[in-house]
Amino acid sequence: MSTGTRLAGWAFAGPALIVIALFFAVPVLAALALSLTDFDIYALSDLDNLRFVGIDNYVNLLHEPLFWKALGNTFYFVIVGVPLSIAVSLGAALLLQSKLGRFKPFFRTAFFAPVVTTVVAVAVIWRYLFHTKYGLVNWGLGGIGIDPIDWLGDPQWAMPTIILFAVWKNFGYNMIIFIAGLQAIPEDLYEAARIDGASFWGQFRHVTLPLLGPVLLLVGILTMAGYFQLFAEPYVMTQGGPLESTVSVLYLMYEQGFKWWNLGAASAVAFVLFVLMAGITSGLLWFARRRGAE
């Protein structure tokens, strides 16, 4: 290989790397520095007002009840939402893989359609679907004798409603990955299980699930990372309310940073979220590796 191609390599990769360095790597490092300052609206107008405060932003965060509330809400969303989404995705993938199903291309497209839609636009639809008085959901529930529920106005119901929304919007994405994973499982294994007299449930538990392990791990990590970034849904559907029951970590970051212009404190929030996500991801990987080794 000549020096020509060597130079060519940098020439081709260079522009993208410069853009990523300038608009991603540098800001990430700067965010770490920013989170150690008291950058606020005064510093925004005059940098002389900027002071280094060490880890004060992080300490303040730990003493801030709203931060714990936001963290709790985000964990609620992730811990309930991720398994539920994955279960629905897997169920849909199994249905689409069944030899007994008809019109599969149509169903696959139908299930996937919500994925490509715009969160803000469909959140507006859901806000109306779950309207206490005029919503289709309460009307349907009324038909089976259930009293109207104030879905988005009741602190107990607001987050579950947002979780349902997220499941509806996202399950098609993982479904596609699961379908590919299911197709990679050799048919003979099911054949052998059937000869051994395994029921549908037995086949699922002893053939499908173990062989789908790596795919499940991947899907779990990707979905979790996405769900930790909850923002647009509460912004449109509940504005964080009622009683701050849907304030997420990113919602808090947005309000701190771009409503109150406390950019230092907002950077600290972002870093805490990043560390949490990285920690949980490595935990999951560690857990999977240990199980795989045994």
């Binding site: 191609t5 081709f12 522009p15 991603f24 965010a31 109306y128 950077s267």
Partner: protein
Amino acid sequence: MNQRIATLVINGLLIGLAVLSLMPLLWMLSVSLMQPGEASAFPPPLLPAHATFENYHELFARAGMGRYLANSFAIASATTLLSLFFNVMAGYAFAKLQFAGKEKVFALLLAALVIPGQVAMMPLFLMLKEMGLVNTYGGAIVPGMAGIFGIFLVRQYARTLPDELLEAARIDGASEFRIFWQIVLPALKPILVTLAIFSFLGSWNDFMWPLIVLGDSDLHTLPVALASLSREHVQDNELMMAGSVVTVLPVLLLFLSLQRYYLQGLLMGSVKG
């Protein structure tokens, strides 16, 4: 007999799930064609009594929807073109060209995938403010220009190109640029389409960054405009549904027409993530 019950159950579940998936979207379309106020009734009407385009007219004539639609198109198109330019070249370089530090840089890029983009937002905002890019299309385009995911996607595909093809061209004395332009680009066409859809949809559907960087309402994209409209017009369900249709329809049509490429890319992007 058992087989027949199973067939019934599976197809029943498929239909049920399809109804749940499509119902909200179909209802959106139906309500968007109702007279103002018609949908605020109990029980909620499923179909408009007299279909009307009144709401769409109102949106474009008075709420400035045309402007937002144009903003969204401009920003998503520019992002897509730039993303193609940067990511395709880099993806090809990481797949097929040798250069010092290549493996290390690539490993670093993959590791950086775990950093959520929001971490960069505060400093990026200050940087763009210094550069005079806050409240401009440019500011909204910047974060989507080059991306690790895009580079990864192109690299995965470009690795399947036969080396002999490139070597033969080099022996014939073709320059690296000419090889890229005349041999590599045509061979990468399917992944170009895939990357283009991903970039366009990503930019069109993005909410948080445009919300931050486009303070001026004349520059708002559809999601940002829709979010602020929905805060003003809480009661105007028909109008809001029409706004949602205008926002969702272009990307839904894009997806339906290029579905094969989109799903292929989704699978490639998540294999060995």
